[in-house]
Symmetry: C2
Subunit: 406 residues, 2 copies
């Protein structure tokens, strides 16, 4: 059987919250040995919400699945020395360090590469100058909150999903693989810098919003659940549910008209209003009219009737679901989908965990693995990575320099 | 000088919209030769909004920066043969195909690997079964729109940012580098499968929301611009601006109290209400009270006064900006930041373009490169990749099998 594609990589991770842990987990879920180190007692994210009914963080195990965990007293010189040895440890696929801790002092790249000259280090910061920024503070600066929400809302509206963190985590994984590839070919390690505000603002540009603001001088107005520049809107069904309908392409628009039997109405609309509904622009311009014409069709049907009517028609649509409905009703979010397994997380219980969305078919999909307990692998890591003897490891535990799982 | 880290990679991309083009662009911005092929006249995204004042898509050039472009008649057998030859072309770093086109018929993995046995192919789909799904239809299913918006809003609220697409693009880049790494070591190519709904639902799980729904049975309620499980909220300033304030960590909470001189009020609040404001939980429980106590401080100050007061204090905060304000006011989104360059996009004009947020320091940051014109590199690619003669290329143009830039 083929091994997982990154099975020979070892990544040391010093992290908290979303982006850096997600970057490490992306690599772990493709087979890498990812060792997260934390201050004894846990880092800043150890109690982050959401919580289990018993008060344990569900966030921490969510973002650290498939890793090993070591607890170290990072304030003690001997603890720092241990972490430095882990980061600089030998082996072709080792010597990779991912962190969103301040990359200065003992964690500066130049200090760490004295331990291993070809170190690959990905240093994640809030802003390019190293100053702090979190998803919740950078998102307001991007422009998206002012473009989000009902038309009559007078205030900007934040995203609940920490999207910039999530995008940044993926970029960290890409950057590490690119730098490790370069090292394999040339022997040269390097520092990778990655700032959250750069991730966010680059994406604003990638999506054309910077050019639009610069060239046009106007901001697109917030527009509820309408799609920008094409037709897309949400509709209520007669059983209290809602669906999102999208007609981005001509094919989707034709399918929607056919199933809802509205072609003749829209032909009439074109004649009366002059909107060219065969173009994305025209459908966007007429979006309120289109929505009003389609609304009765949805109001006369249940979600199941909508689902049946749209099956295999080419209509692009989806139901709105709460998190609870996602888990209870959607087979794609269940063990019917090989992405998910029900796994016991010690101290919390058994629940549905995802593996990597990437299925690299040579090795096959690695089933979801649980997160470690904080310090679960302290002893093992000191032995198998640093080669310490049982007596030395015992002394470190006794001195409080390291700790195991409690 | 060190070459860009992926300078020896060649990726053939058959794509439209966000996720697949972004995956290819992520690799192009690290130096890969990414060739996007399109149907003559352009794909489904060729006119996607936002548009320039002259009506050109700003979206398309945003997501295809630094690539080469070839226009081919994909309906003609000879056109398909040319694309097949591009995908299967020889070279150690070639033989990589990224697509969100249906991976069947002539674009099926098994058909393509007859041209190159070690082909690495990343096939992106909407759902794992290959059925269609776009960001705007999968987002409603995740649970986030029901958790987004003002407390009194009765309907779900979509994200304007296609976050799942953006996350998926990063995963595609990671998956390709992982598979190419495996191929370098073993000679074995492989198919990578990646579904948008898997990307979305995995992230819902990673953030603890699946576990919360399963174990707790309750959905968190929408909560405006409050942070979940800690203190974070937005405030108006006296000059009509707004700021987001976050006190996730104890240090941030202390800094916020110190600058706003509210310690004694919050001490009193603890005594009266019993909220333990030293914990994230306690601050979340008291969030409305905390916001009410802080509000007058912001209402008495301008954005600049807030900025000055918070400078170097450790308070975690950020201003809300429209897209226009981001471009006009924020030095991080300007040529002062090496991420950005002002580049002329032919047919549109000069505007601010981002390069890769990843700075791999060995080679240094590659400045932002513009997008190709559709078909700009048709002739060049037929020559330098497929080795066709001038006469053969001329015949393909004459027959309408390929087209250049218009």
């Amino acid at each position: 059987m083929t091994a997982q594609p990154l099975a020979d990589l070892r990544v040391i991770e010093g992290s908290a919250f979303v982006a850096a842990p997600l970057g490490g987990m992306t690599l772990a879920q493709l087979g890498a040995d990812v060792i997260r180190f934390d201050q004894v007692g846990g880092g800043l994210d150890v109690n982050r919400w959401p919580l289990s009914p018993s008060g344990e963080s569900l966030f921490w195990p969510g973002l650290n699945k498939g890793k090993r965990s070591i607890q170290v007293d990072l304030r003690a010189p001997e603890g720092r020395e241990l972490v430095g040895e882990l980061i600089g440890s030998s082996g072709e696929g080792a010597g990779i360090f991912l962190t969103n801790f301040p990359a200065r002092g003992w964690l500066a790249y130049d200090a760490l590469r004295e331990r291993r000259a070809d170190l690959v280090m990905c240093a994640m910061t809030g802003n390019p100058d190293g100053s702090s920024e979190v998803d919740y503070t950078v998102n307001p600066a991007t422009g998206f909150p002012w473009a989000t929400g009902p038309r009559d809302l007078a205030v900007p509206l934040n995203s609940v999903l920490p999207a910039w963190d999530a995008i940044m985590g993926g970029l960290a994984a890409t950057g590490i693989l690119a730098a490790e590839r370069h090292r394999t070919r040339t022997g040269e390690g390097q520092l990778i810098r990655l700032a959250l505000s750069d991730v966010a603002f680059a994406m604003v540009g990638n999506l054309g919003r910077i050019a639009e603001a610069q060239l046009d001088g106007q901001d697109a107005e917030r527009d509820g659940n309408y799609l920008y520049g094409a037709f897309g809107h949400d509709f209520a069904t007669n059983d209290g549910r809602r669906v999102m309908i999208v007609a981005l392409t001509g094919r989707q628009w034709h399918a929607l008209q056919e199933v809802t039997q509205t072609q003749h109405v829209f032909e009439g609309l074109t004649t009366v209003t002059g909107h060219d509904l065969s173009s994305e622009d025209g459908r966007f311009g007429a979006r309120d009219l289109i929505a009003a014409i389609l609304r009765p069709w949805f109001e006369a049907r249940s979600l199941e009737q909508v689902r049946d009517a749209f099956a295999d028609t080419g209509v692009s649509w989806g139901p709105y679901q709460t998190f609870h409905q996602l888990v209870d009703e959607d087979p794609r979010c269940s063990v019917q989908n090989p992405l998910f397994s029900t796994v016991e997380q010690p101290g919390i219980g058994a629940y549905l965990m995802p593996g990597s969305p990437l299925e690299l078919t040579a090795a096959g999909r690695q089933p979801a693995r649980r997160a470690p307990l904080l310090g679960e692998h302290t002893e093992e890591i000191l032995g198998d990575v640093l080669g310490l003897s049982g007596a030395e490891i015992g002394r470190l535990f006794d001195a409080g320099t390291v700790a195991g799982a409690s």
